[in-house]
């Protein structure tokens, strides 16, 4: 469904992605794990068009995405919950969610999707008129995910949804990711928390300094020596 073929991205002169190839099939959760600075967020920024690859191509259902501006890529069906829970802090929860549906015009559908998001995250419904900045960390993460869902993405890109959250809450967020996937959402999940990510994902890729060094199904990756040493903290 979503496919990256030999993608190279640069920040100025810095060669950040050195030939990334990966694919996400319909209905899958695929995780991209790696250390800080390995290129995880850069990969997502390249997919969503905030960064244009210098070589390689990105495909969504046989359509080329690379080179398109970010707003068109959203319209093609790539939704994103950005790193660090970048919600709009002074817009209310409701306004944040409405922003997520910016590309859409079907009022009835938007209303139904709002109900759906509020069903997934009852807490957001309680706080619908509260400014986003006053939400707790976990609530902001929920809002960011809910907002990304509002554009009805065919693929949902999640950038470190567990970052900075208390352990119990990380559990909650991953349960939600699993729940979303059960409903049929295709997800590309970028995570530092490899143990949790591999527990929910079907397949995974390991990225190191701009290269994919490993790719396999999640169960095998969990058994892999390199992953166990470097990312799961086992000896």
């Amino acid at each position: 469904m979503l496919e990256l073929r030999d993608v190279h991205s640069y920040y100025g002169h810095i060669h950040a992605l050195k030939g990334i190839s990966l694919s996400v099939e319909k209905g899958e959760i695929v995780t991209l794990i790696g250390a800080n600075g390995a290129g995880k967020t850069t990969t997502l920024r390249t997919i969503s068009g905030l960064l244009h690859p210098r070589h390689g191509s990105i495909w969504l259902d046989g359509e080329r995405l690379d080179g398109l501006p970010p707003d068109i890529i959203v319209r093609k069906g790539v939704g994103q919950s950005p790193e660090g829970r970048q919600i709009f802090p002074r817009l209310t929860v409701m306004e944040n969610l409405e922003m997520g549906a910016y590309t859409r015009n079907d009022k009835e559908g938007i209303r139904r999707d709002l109900e759906h998001v509020f069903g997934l995250f009852p807490r957001l419904a309680e706080r619908r008129n509260q400014p986003g900045g006053t939400l707790s960390g976990g609530e902001q993460q929920m809002l960011a995910i809910g907002r990304a869902l509002m554009c009805r993405p065919r693929v949902l890109l999640l950038d470190e949804p567990s970052m900075g959250l208390a352990p119990l809450l990380v559990e909650t967020i991953f349960n939600i990711i699993r729940e979303l996937n059960r409903e049929g959402t295709t997800i590309l999940l970028v995570e530092q928390n490899a143990a949790k990510a591999l527990a929910v994902a079907h397949r995974g890729y390991v990225i190191e300094t701009g290269h994919i060094v490993l790719s396999d199904n999640a169960a095998n990756l969990r058994q892999n020596d390199l992953v166990r040493k470097a990312y799961l903290g086992e000896t």
Partner: protein, 590 residues
Amino acid sequence: MTTPTTSLAQPTTTLATAPSAWRDALRIGLIGGVCAVLVALIGMIEAFSNRNIIAGVITLGTLLIIGSAFLSGYFATRSASDSPRAAEVIGRGALAGLMTSLFLTLLALFVNAVPTIRSMFINASPALVQLLTLGQGMPAGNLLLLVVGTMMGALAGLLQLVPPVFHRSLIIGVVITILIGMMQDLLRVTFQNWSALRPVSNFFFTSNGLAPAGAATIFALAIVFNVVWSQRGDRVRAGIRSLPPAQRRALNLGLVIFGGIILLALPWVVGLFFSEVLVNVGLFVLMALGLNIVVGFAGLLDLGYVAFYAIGAYMIGLLTSTSKEIVFAGGWSFWAALPFAIAVAILAGAILGIPVLKIRGDYLAIVTLGFGEIIRLLAQSDFLKPVLGGSRGVELIPKPAIGPFEFAGPQELYYLILAGCVIAVFVSLRLKDSRQGRAWMAMREDEDVAQTMGINLVNTKLLAFMIGASLAGIAGAIFASKLAIIYPHSFNLLISILVLAVVIIGGMGSIPGVILGALVLVGLPELLREFSDYRLLLYGAALVLMMLVRPEGLWPEEARQRELHEAEEEVSLSEKLADDEELAREGATG
């Protein structure tokens, strides 16, 4: 609600913090004193002493002198309202007031002892000494000033101790009395036009300042009204809210019609001179509403906004002028030329917009600043003199007319401006609540996130520049036909800065705020002739003060107010953590 958060305000042990609170009062008194001396030396006190606030009792100059002591006392005790001991608070206020008046007294003594200081400070005159001794002569007046200053400071301290309702009401009462006193020209002239109102006018006003009885009445009325409103206001508002929708709509419609009638009748009620002031205010309302779209809605800092004003004015000038010196003078009517003026302004908005699409923040401000200067220099250049008239400008611009009705004087032009402002308000209101308005808001918050919401930054930015430019173009067009002659130097950087100040002081993104800002920054100085010399100084002071005290502006937009006061209202971190724990528990059980 808001609680004072400085460490001084919350003495855990009164003993430990008391000396530092006193030191703080002393410091604020010193700062107030330095400011007061500065105000005296630049001549404001003397210039303002000619304007009576209350006839025979107090002038604006004297008000500055004793007001400085009051303000010192007020700020020295502001954070002490929860202090256990009343005497201490009053004492601190008195100390600050004494310090401030001491500075002014020292200034008076110094000027008196060293008259040659005048060669350096031209305003250090005997007249100033006279004012600084409150008209009582040397030793007695000095003492009097110190006593009055101390009393003022103590009074300010006392004010902190009364219940907040009265505290606020008293301040509002004083401010309203002073404002009415300052604007007595406008009000008296207006009243004198109507013979039935003459006795009322004579009760409140003398030929120079408020009558003492009138001032007392205004003060009392303002206080009573404010106290009553603060106790009953919520109920009235709730009453209005609980009205059936049909009645509420009728009420709104009634208010709109009432406001409309007042606006339509205004130039004939207030007379010729004040209509001129209204026209100038209106031009700035129009421009500020346009800049508000660029800066307030879309968050793009534009320091060259005057360029579009100039383009609108020059297009009208060139197309309608009958001057022989301009090669392309069109001799068209205003109405035929107006669409072209607007179109060219919009085009210029796009031309400015395209190169700055990738530029953010400070860099954008610098580029737009340059753009504004380029337009002015082009108009001024000898090279383009045959086309644009060079530094002599464009002359013989006719007045707009509809049939036999000519917008000749300010009272007629007022309606043209009013129409422009109504259109601008309408456009702003519609845009604000539209999809486009939300796209601007998202872009203002974070360009990257806005893009991942599917917003096209190129279109969004260009549209903001173009709509902003169109409103400035209309303002420029009206300006050109108002003056009948335009020069390049009418379009200098200062206009851009003034419009920006209007938007910032009024409240970025807020439509009523911007209108209020124009009234305060453009209207007030024109009404107070003494202000004109100190206009820029006061703008600067007002901007600094606003940024410190009320950064969201006089009449803020809802979302911006939320942002700037987040720190105060914000749910504390511990509360957020508690929320998260609860969330986690919910998640674990459900």
